[in-house]
């Protein structure tokens, strides 16, 4: 077995094992922490498709994360207040059903990614970074100044949403659900990367001129990747909102875009388990170093510096002992 595969199994098994141990010794906080890791891993896996496989350095993925979160909060807030949502002649009661919320979050963030992608994918390099950041900031300020849904204060959802057959307020059951979704997302990601689409996407990152000259449109390929990427990150946003039972514009802030990017870079760009490794390391450091020192981010910065300068394959690159593109 390749070292990377072995590490992936160890990592996933270790985190699952930790959750089960925490469940037995009744440490719900640890379970919640792990749930957060898995949700961020889903968000990072979404970004990794664009950033790692497509070479599209998006500093605007907080937009999709936040849109997913707001999709959840808007639907659930109408359901909890029994005030139907009115859009023109149509009214909706809102919903507390997770599958419906997930679907809406995915569709809404995919649509946003389509619009943002159509405009920003005409640029590349630094301009692409700046334009994706600009779009995310626009949505951020829109959320702040939108009084109907809490404005700057955000929206609280009192009871976690429902999933058929589960008590989602029980940390281990909610964790199990998130773990299952992470598995599905990882499967989807690995399948996409090996498919015709994945081959075309990675080729576009390496040499767009060649892709054009065999009759494929790099723009279309990148746009599809960006939409799928945004949709996955949007799903993570809905889950994160459900974890906290709270949404505010801070989910849309550029720091969130940066954090998602850090998960990917820390763990390993274009590696399937990179975002999971990165998110686990990040949340672990935030929690344990945060307990020791207020300045834990200094140590995170130092680590990131080391990873970028010497281990350009990220944590997984160091483990696998081989370098992919960086």
């Amino acid at each position: 077995m390749r070292r990377e595969t072995l590490f992936n199994f160890t990592l996933a098994g270790g985190l699952l094992g930790l959750a089960i141990v925490a469940w037995f010794v009744d440490e719900p906080f640890v379970i919640t922490l792990l749930t957060k890791v898995f949700i961020f891993a889903i968000a990072g896996t979404g970004l990794n498709l664009a950033l790692g496989n497509g070479g599209l350095v998006s500093l605007g993925h907080a937009a999709f994360f936040g849109i997913g979160g707001y999709a959840m909060a808007i639907l659930a807030s109408h359901a909890q207040s029994f005030e139907p949502m009115v859009i023109g002649p149509l009214t909706f009661d809102g919903t507390k059903s997770m599958p419906v919320i997930w679907l809406v979050a995915i569709l809404a963030s995919a649509f946003a990614a389509l619009l943002i992608g159509l405009l920003s994918l005409r640029t590349s390099g630094v301009y692409f970074i700046m334009i994706t950041l600009a779009f995310a900031q626009m949505i951020y300020y829109f959320a702040i100044s939108w009084p109907a849904y809490g404005g700057e204060d955000g929206i609280s959802i009192y009871v976690r949403n429902n999933f058929p057959g589960l008590n989602t307020l029980d940390p281990i059951q909610f964790f199990g659900l998130i773990a299952l979704l992470l598995v599905i997302v990882l499967w989807l990601s690995s399948t996409l990367v090996r498919s015709r689409f994945g081959v075309a996407l990675d080729a576009t990152r390496q040499n767009a001129q060649r892709v054009t000259s065999v009759g494929l449109s790099p723009f279309t390929i990148r746009l599809i990747a960006f939409v799928i990427s945004g949709a996955i990150t949007g799903l993570a946003g809905a889950l994160y909102a459900d974890l906290n039972r709270f949404v505010s514009p801070s989910m849309l802030s550029w720091q969130v875009s940066g954090e998602i990017m850090v998960f990917v870079i820390l763990g390993g760009v274009a590696r399937l388990f990179g975002p999971l490794a990165g998110a686990a390391l990040f949340i672990g450091m935030e929690h344990y170093l945060g307990g020791i020192s207020e300045f834990w981010q200094f140590w995170l910065g130092l680590l990131l510096l080391i990873v970028v300068l010497w281990g350009r394959g990220g944590l997984l690159g160091v483990v696998a002992g081989e370098r992919r593109h960086g």
């Binding site: 015709r196 994945g198 075309a200 001129q209 054009t212 000259s213 065999v214 390929i221 593109h325």
Partner: protein, 250 residues
């Protein structure tokens, strides 16, 4: 002779005050190699780029099988049958030769975007790719990254990628560039075979290869075609000697 497959009518393109291509007209017929020669900066590459759709002409028209390519984007021209090779090998460096061919075959199939089938077990890709690797003597080196194969092998791959597209017309921008004598000779005989299947518009500096291969030659100087004809006619043309052959190698 056969009817023209590619017709270029009065194609012009300026960059600022420089007329890189000035009212260029030429035709490419089935089964022939039409070579385009001329000194550096004569506008050969500009012409190829316009034909491939990478830059737009200011005026004039390009007809493929009688249909205008005006406004058709580069990647769609490939579907209409226009394939090109690059002066500097343009391959996917991290992909093996086999994977590079997968990509070309995906483009050729017209339905490039499967999301769930692994390419490595997709017989619609693996079979034709294996056949092409065989044809272009790349089978032994099929599975190492294309960045690590030799220059000559990359040139072979470059041609194989174009052939994988099953084009109606092949545009080749200096395929012999940087090849040794053996490589040039091998590629010359390959193009000789290839022209039976697909007519080639060849831009080339290697005069020996050009005169061995070309059925028709056009000489481009300062963006204008100053002479066009068979190898013998071009060799004896006074204008060509003065403008081009007299100064360079022959």
């Amino acid at each position: 002779m056969d009817k023209a497959i590619l017709e270029v009518h009065n194609l012009s393109r300026s960059f600022g005050a420089l007329r890189a291509c000035d009212e260029v007209s030429l035709t490419l017929k089935a089964g022939e190699i039409h070579a385009l020669i001329g000194p550096n900066g004569a506008g050969k590459s500009t012409l190829i780029k316009m034909l491939a759709g990478e830059i737009e002409p200011d005026s004039g028209d390009i007809l493929l099988d009688g249909k205008s390519l005006r406004g058709v984007p580069a990647h769609k021209r490939v579907h209409q049958g226009l394939a090109r090779t690059f002066q500097v090998s343009s391959i996917i460096p991290e992909y093996s030769a086999r994977q590079n061919l997968f990509l070309a075959l995906m483009g050729a199939s017209g339905s490039p975007l499967g999301f769930f089938t692994r390419t490595s077990t997709d017989t619609a890709l693996t079979k034709p790719a294996a056949a092409l690797l065989d044809e272009f003597d790349l089978s032994m080196r099929a599975d190492i990254p294309a960045a690590n194969i030799s220059h000559g092998e990359r040139r072979q791959l470059e041609v194989a990628l174009a052939v994988a597209l099953q084009p109606r017309v092949l545009l080749m921008d200096e395929p012999m560039a940087g090849m040794g004598t053996d490589g040039t000779a091998a590629l010359t005989s390959r193009l000789q075979e290839l022209k039976q299947r697909v007519p080639i518009l060849l831009v080339e500096h290697d005069m020996e290869a050009v005169f061995a291969l070309a059925d028709t030659l056009s000489v481009l100087v300062y963006g204008q075609i100053i002479a066009s004809g068979t190898a013998a006619e071009i060799r004896s043309s006074r204008a060509v000697r003065d403008a081009y052959l007299g100064h360079g190698k022959s």
